[in-house]
Symmetry: C2
Subunit: 82 residues, 2 copies
């Protein structure tokens, strides 16, 4: 079994209103040294597979089909043996 850690991020060219709102909230709390904040998703899940490349294929397919929007988002993942 593997544990997959996936991060899904908006592409750099896509506006991130959620990140902007959080950044403004930080500014109003006097965190003026923090900037360029962007928010993405962090997903973890278990993958039932005996071979690493099978697990990788499965996670990649799940990201491409459901977890990320390929038009607006990039994803990356790590697999850890569990």
């Amino acid at each position: 079994m593997y544990k997959a850690i996936i991060t899904v991020r908006l592409r750099p060219s896509i506006l991130d209103p959620e990140g902007k709102a959080i950044e403004q909230a930080l500014q109003s709390l006097d965190f003026s040294a923090l900037s360029g904040l962007r928010v993405g998703k962090y997903i973890e899940m278990n993958v039932e597979a005996t071979e690493r490349d099978v697990a990788e294929q499965m996670v990649d397919a799940a990201c491409g089909k459901l977890l990320a929007n390929p038009v607006m988002e990039d994803y990356s993942y790590e697999l850890h043996e569990a």
Copy 2:
């Protein structure tokens, strides 16, 4: 300057309805080998500081005050020199 990569996750004891919904959607797409899916936030931002421990303190305070809900969520972060 540093780049901070923050992950905010629900504590293990807290139910994650969003993760559950995504997991069910994966099951219905025939990804039956994927389980235990949980969703968190991935946040990246720039930290304007010359010393690492100053940057660390700032990120830690921002997480505790705004980015994470200390009752329901755990956070962790990495700092990379940029």
